[in-house]
Symmetry: C2
Subunit: 377 residues, 2 copies
């Protein structure tokens, strides 16, 4: 046995020497120069980029006063490294990129990247109370990419499904299900990537703050099979409620067949942001009594006779929780207030969770982290 | 019902108007300017980048004669768009990026991106016979990210597991398992991202060319819990065969408990590239008789008395397939030839699959696409 171990050791040493050569295009980036970015030191954070021939390098960050603007100028320090130092923003997950002579560039020294629709952006995670549930818990659930056949949409479609820690080891236990819907421009990966849904649920469940639950994150663009990264053919969607119908008539049965889901209304929650909030309102209006927990986020609705009828239908069918959140600087803030007023006028008990901020993932993570604690209780 | 539908329609129209606003940092990139990149037209491909203030823009592509070099110059055409046109390389999946005034930049118009270790690179997929199994099949398996506790390594660790199409709908069927190992610099996502493992298996299984099988892709860096993208604490690994021991003693039992895996040697295959090829050689040497199918890729071994003893152990324990592949311009080509010679000298029936090319994913995809058809038959 000793000899075999010696051979294996020599094989592994050979393998070790290959580290730099396996990757077809591997290089050491800025590592050789010991440049670090981003670097959090006390109350400040410094971003650095080596750009030998650039004439102007800027940094655009989601924490800046105008996150859609041209960003802030970086200054050239030693060895063609450009640097930008600023006070550390308050705890949150931010995104940023560099702009080198007018072109958006990711930070090659930061492997933490989110896909925001068609763009890849670096992440800056500022630790603190606000973000404590956004990092990895000790007990982690499983994230599954799977496909279902939608007869009604005529497409094989992908969804992302989270099952909580312990799901595999407790084969008799059944779980409630949260259907968690993304917004316009998003896809089935939005909630696990930008939304940190798996981490938030892992942390809440580990701390005993949320019930163990399955979270289903479908693709809400009815003509699309899956995220555009897969480059699959799309199809013109037919009918205005095509996706919502598929959600209730196809996705729910699929989930309740393929997972150990409790198959009744008291174990179903629906939540969605923006367009997904619209889907939440539509699904509960068209299929009252299907979900006992209803959480539209950053969405509203103009007051009207039809809305009142809709809400009366939901009231009549009954529910256990109607919770909705919106930021005061959201461009939909006025219509959110109208939805709040309509719910009150129609006698629907509800929570209107008002925050600062706008139509942002900072709010949606916070909302999920908040309402998930209220579900199935 | 008509009124409800009308309301839902208006809600969805509102949602539609939000398309551009949901994403905190959303912009339309070059889309407004109708710039397309990459654009395949007949026998050529054109790459384009809008760079208003750049003084020099280059393109670095893995198909170029020197993929590690400085790339090729792009030329400025109208509207500050830089362009590079070249003959379409032969069918394969290539990677590329732009270099703007010395800084590596991803193509903002191409959403297809691979993570190669710490770098994000755009993909160029050239269609043809060679790549026909690298795209999406009609029948797609499930890809699962899950965690197992390694007592021996003292870490909770992530693996990626592929289950074939039909796994969920055939709850009595059991499947053979391929343990598919990545190389140095890689992690548990390497085979599904750069290696296209899910697509290759989907296609082969759909065409009846491969047996439906489970594919387990663990993380082969024994001190690491998961890909560095998760930013989890690492740990100094203890013992030279720590990972291989965990693979056989912890991962196999975990898989055979949590999946409907056929729990015997005739239903177990092991394959790995480079460092993972080293792991394959070590695992089969230390645990002969565990895997009936043995496929080291782009690896070799110096001839020695100890190697002979090792191979005799494998021969004595028996196996059904010993298949290994290497490219003639691989930097390990000489040692691969030595392994071939040692297998022959020791009387181990085997296939030495020799290709052109080197230590590249182009070869590893091809090898998987080839040997997967020989497993469990």
């Amino acid at each position: 046995m000793k000899k075999i171990l010696a051979i294996c050791a020599s094989l592994l040493l050979t393998a070790g020497a290959m580290f730099a050569q396996e990757l077809a295009n591997f290089n050491f980036g800025g590592r050789g120069a010991r440049v670090v970015s981003p670097e959090i030191q006390g109350d400040s954070v410094t971003f650095r980029l080596r750009a030998d021939y650039a004439t102007m390098v800027r940094l655009s960050g989601s924490w800046m006063e105008n996150p859609y603007g041209a960003g802030e100028e970086m200054r050239r320090v030693a060895n063609n490294v450009w640097e930008y130092k600023c006070p550390l923003p308050s705890p949150e997950i931010y995104t940023y990129n560099f702009i080198v002579d007018g072109v958006a560039v990711n930070d090659p020294l930061n492997i933490q990247v989110q896909r925001d629709g068609t763009r890849f952006l670096n992440m800056l995670i500022v630790p603190g109370k606000r973000t404590e549930n956004y990092g990895e818990a000790n007990q982690r659930g499983t994230v599954k990419y799977m496909w279902y056949d939608s007869q009604s949409l005529g497409l094989n479609r992908r969804m992302v499904v989270y099952t909580p820690y312990g799901y595999e080891n407790n084969p008799k236990q059944k779980y409630p299900v949260l259907y968690l819907l993304h917004g316009g421009g998003g896809d089935e990966e939005a909630w696990t990537s930008m939304g940190r849904a798996a981490q938030i649920l892992d942390n809440l469940i580990e701390k005993g703050l949320a019930k163990p639950m399955i979270v289903v994150m479908p693709n809400g663009n009815p003509g699309q099979q899956a995220a555009a990264t897969l480059n699959l053919p799309t199809k013109q969607a037919t009918g205005q409620n095509a996706y919502v119908n598929s959600l209730v008539k196809e996705i729910i049965p699929f989930v309740e067949k393929n997972f150990r889901a409790i198959p009744n209304r008291s174990a179903r929650a629906i939540a969605g942001l923006s367009m997904g909030g619209g889907h939440t309102l539509s699904a509960t209006a068209l299929y009252p009594g299907t979900f006992d927990y209803i959480c539209p986020l950053s969405i509203g609705s103009q007051r009207s006779e039809q809305l009142d009828q809709q809400l009366q239908g939901i009231k009549k069918a009954g529910y256990k929780l109607y919770w909705f959140g919106c930021g005061e600087s959201d461009f939909l803030w006025e219509s959110a207030k109208q939805l709040d007023a309509a719910l009150t006028a129609n006698g629907l008990e509800h929570t209107f969770f008002v925050t600062d901020g706008g139509h942002t993932w900072a709010n949606w993570r916070n909302y999920l982290n908040t309402f998930a604690q209220l579900l199935f209780k």
